[in-house]
Symmetry: C2
Subunit: 413 residues, 2 copies
C-alpha cells in the first residue's frame, strides 16, 4: 500500500525552510507497513495543487496534505481539493459556531475571514483540532483516501494520531513491524559498514538503515512480517551476527544517546563525575547537563581555555605545560587529576586538543584530540587524530570522552 505526502506553503519553497511534517508522517505510515513513494512541496497555488492532488489520488491509496487550512487568501488547500475532486465546498454551521466559541473564550472577536475555516468539502468527515482553529478533513474517492491536515507540527501530530492512525490502521495491510535499534560509539561509518554489510546486504527484509554523526552511529533494522514471532526471528537472524561483530562498541539498544547512557551508569553506581574542558569549552558539561536529573551525578567542572587557567584552576604543573605542551597526554591527565581533586568527584574527564583554525605543527597537527580520565584507580588518557571542521572535531572528542567513561565504568578500560 502506497502513500504520498503533499506539503502546502510557499514558505517551504524558500532557501531556508524544509517541510519536516513529512518525516513524522512517513515514520508513522511505515510503522503501519505503508510506503511513502513520493512527497512534494507546493506553493500557495490553487490550480497547481489541484493538479497534484488529482495525480496523486489517481495512483496512490493514501494522499496526505499538510498546511494551507488557515483563514487567509493564501490558504488554498480546501479550494484546491474541492476543485481536484470536483466536489462542492459548503459552510458548516457547527464548525462555524465552534470557531466563534473559541474566539469568545479567548475574549477576541472572530474576524470575518475565519469563516473560511468552517468550509467543508462535500462528503468529508471532519477531524477536530484540539490545538488550533483549522479542522482537518478526511475524504474517500474511488478507493483512495485523501486527508487534509493543518500545517503547524503540534496540531498535525495530535490530529494524525487521534483521528487518522486508527482509520488508516483499519485499511492498512495486516502486518507486524519490529525494529532493532543499535547505537555505536568509537567507529567510523565506513569501517562499520565494511564490517556489517556482509551480514545485512543479504536481506531485503529487515531493511537496514545506518545514520552517522560525529563519533555516533545509529543502526536501524526494520523487519516486516505477518506475525511478531516471524519478525523477531528475522531480527535475531540478522541482528545477532551484527551485535556479535560490533560487541562492546554498542552502547545503546533503546535509542538513548551516550550522555544519557553514561548518566544512568553513574547513577546506578552511585558515582559522580566532573569535567575539565579546554578545546571543547563546555560542550561535555553541556551534554551531561542536558539530561533532566543530571545533578544526581554531575557535580560541575572547569573550562580552562588558556594555559594560565589550567595552572590556576586545575593545578596543572607549569613544568608539564612547558615540557609537553597544552595538547599532550601529560597535560590531559594532570587536568583530570586536578578536576577530581578539586571537586572530589568519583570520576573526572578532561579534554584538550588542537581544534584549529591553526593548522598546528608536526607533533600536534590540527585534529589531535586527547581525553583524560581520573578515578580512584588511577589516571589514563587516550589520543586520537580526527578529521573535520572545528565543531566536528569538538563533537567527536566530547563523544570520545563519554565513551572512555562508559568503558571505564564497564570495566573495559
Amino acid at each position: 500500500m502506497n502513500a504520498e505526502i503533499i506539503a502546502i506553503g510557499s514558505e517551504m519553497l524558500s532557501g531556508e525552510r524544509l517541510d519536516t511534517n513529512s518525516l513524522y508522517l512517513t515514520a508513522e505510515l511505515n510503522r503501519l507497513g505503508i510506503e511513502v513513494v513520493t512527497k512534494c512541496v507546493i506553493g500557495d497555488d490553487r490550480e497547481r495543487l489541484a493538479a497534484q492532488v488529482r495525480q496523486s489520488i489517481g495512483r496512490s491509496a493514501i494522499v496526505i496534505l499538510s498546511g494551507g487550512l488557515g483563514p487567509t487568501e493564501d490558504d488554498v488547500t480546501r479550494d484546491a481539493v474541492a476543485l481536484a475532486l470536483d466536489r462542492k465546498l459548503s459552510y458548516d454551521r457547527e464548525i462555524g459556531e465552534w470557531l466563534e466559541q473559541r474566539f469568545a473564550a479567548a475574549k477576541r472577536k472572530m474576524a470575518e475571514v475565519n469563516k473560511r475555516q468552517a468550509f467543508v468539502i462535500q462528503g468529508a468527515q471532519i477531524l477536530s483540532n484540539d490545538r488550533g482553529t483549522a479542522p482537518g478533513q478526511w475524504l474517500e474517492e474511488s478507493g483512495a483516501v485523501c486527508v487534509l491536515l493543518p500545517g503547524p507540527p503540534h496540531e498535525l501530530k495530535a490530529m494524525f494520531e487521534r483521528h487518522c492512525l486508527p482509520r488508516i490502521a483499519r485499511i492498512a495491510p495486516k502486518q507486524v513491524i519490529r525494529t532493532l535499534f543499535l547505537r555505536v560509539a568509537g567507529m567510523g561509518e565506513s569501517d562499520l559498514d565494511q564490517l556489517i554489510a556482509p551480514v545485512y546486504k543479504k536481506y531485503e527484509n529487515p531493511v537496514t538503515t545506518i545514520l552517522a554523526a560525529a563519533g555516533d552511529i545509529q543502526i536501524h533494522l526494520r523487519a516486516r512480517c505477518e506475525t511478531e514471532a516471524e519478525a523477531d526471528a528475522l531480527l535475531a537472524e540478522v541482528g545477532g551476527p551484527i551485535e556479535l561483530l560490533l560487541g562492546d562498541r554498542i552502547y545503546s539498544r533503546n535509542g538513548d544517546p551516550l550522555h544519557t547512557v553514561v548518566g544512568q551508569m553513574l547513577q546506578l553506581a552511585g558515582a559522580t563525575v566532573s569535567v575539565a574542558e579546554s578545546a571543547t569549552g563546555g560542550m561535555l558539561g553541556e551534554r551531561f547537563t542536558s539530561v533532566p536529573g543530571s545533578s544526581a551525578y554531575f557535580v560541575g567542572g572547569f573550562i580552562t581555555y588558556t594555559n594560565e587557567m589550567k595552572v590556576e584552576l586545575l593545578g596543572v604543573p607549569p613544568e608539564t605545560l612547558a615540557q609537553f605542551g597544552a595538547v599532550s597526554k601529560e597535560t590531559a591527565e594532570a587536568m583530570a587529576q586536578g578536576a577530581r581533586r578539586r571537586t572530589r568527584s568519583t570520576y573526572a574527564l578532561s579534554i584538550t586538543g588542537a581544534a584549529g583554525p591553526d593548522p598546528g605543527d608536526q607533533n600536534v597537527p590540527k585534529g589531535t584530540m586527547i581525553v583524560g580520565l581520573s578515578d580512584g584507580a588511577g589516571t589514563i588518557s587516550m589520543q586520537r587524530q580526527f578529521l573535520g571542521d572545528r565543531q566536528r572535531l569538538r563533537t567527536f572528542t566530547a563523544q570520545l570522552a563519554l565513551d572512555v567513561l562508559r568503558r571505564r565504568i564497564s570495566g573495559l578500560l
Copy 2:
C-alpha cells in the same frame, strides 16, 4: 521564470532523512530571480520519475534533478529522463576513459557496473564532476532546461556553481536581488512581528521572511528590481523603519550569530571574559569557544552544578545560598564575581536557573532563569521567565547572557 526541483532516492522517503540539496538550489535560483514553484522527492523508480519529469518540463522553464546518477541498478535518473524525453541513451567513450583513469589513479580496478555512469542522453551537454565519478548532464527540450546533478551535496554544489549558474544566468530574466539581513535578540517572535508587520505587510517587494529560534530572530528582506539603485532604495524604504523600530535589539547585519558578534566586540575592546554556569552546564562556554580564535578573549570558567561547587569553586557565600537560594539574583551575582576574581577576566558572566524537570515552587517556578554580569564597574543581574523544554530554556538563557554582555560593552546597560 519558474523552476522545479526533483530529488531522487528512496532513502529520502524514510522517516529520517530530508532532501537538503533543494535549500541550496533554491537559494541560488532565487538569487537569479527564479522562483521554485514545486519540489518533490521520488524513490528509485524509473517510471514514476519519468512521469514526474515529463510533467515538470511541460510547465516549468527549469527542472533540476539531484541524485540517482551512481553506478548501481538503483540509480535510475539517466534512464528515467531518457524515457521521459523519448531520447536514446548511449555510451560515451570519453567519459568511460576518464572513469577508468580515475580508478587507475586510485589504484583500483573499475567494476563493470561503473560503465553505467558513462551513458549520456542524446543531445545532452556533459557537466564534469571534479569531486566524484558521476558526470552531470544539461538538456534542453521545447524551451525548457533539464539538469541532472549528482546527489552528494559537495559534488552537487561544485557542479552547480561551476557549470549551471553561468548557463542559467544567461537565460534568467535580467534583474537585481539585494538582501537586508538583521538578527535580533531579546524579543519573542510574535512581539517582533506585531511591531514590524505594519511596515513590511504593505510590500510584496521586498519579500520579508522571519525565522525564529530561542531568543534569536532573523529577518530577511529581499528586494528584486531592475537596477541596484532601485533595489537599494526599496530596502532603505522598508528596512529603515524596521531598523528604527527594533533599535539596539538588532545585533547583527551580516548574519553573524551573537557569540561571534560579542567575541568581536571583546577583541576590539582588548577585553576578556569568563563564565560561571549552573543551569546551562557549559553551553555558554561552548558557544564562546565555537568561534575560531576565541582564545584571544575567552579565558575559561566554571561549571558549578551543585551548591557545594558554587561555594568551593566560585566562593559564593554559603549564607547567600541559604538565604536566597541557588536560583536568585544574589547567587548569580556572587557567581559572576567569583568567576571574575578567580580568572581575572575583564567581564564574567554567570547563569543560574530552574530548567526543570522539577516544576519548582511559587517563588522559583521552572523557567526562572537568571544571568549575572560582573566587571570593573560593578555587578548586575537580569531575571527572566522563559517557556519551553529544558534545552529551549537553556538556549534562551545562554543567548540572554550573551546579549547582556553585548549591551554592557555597548554602554546600553
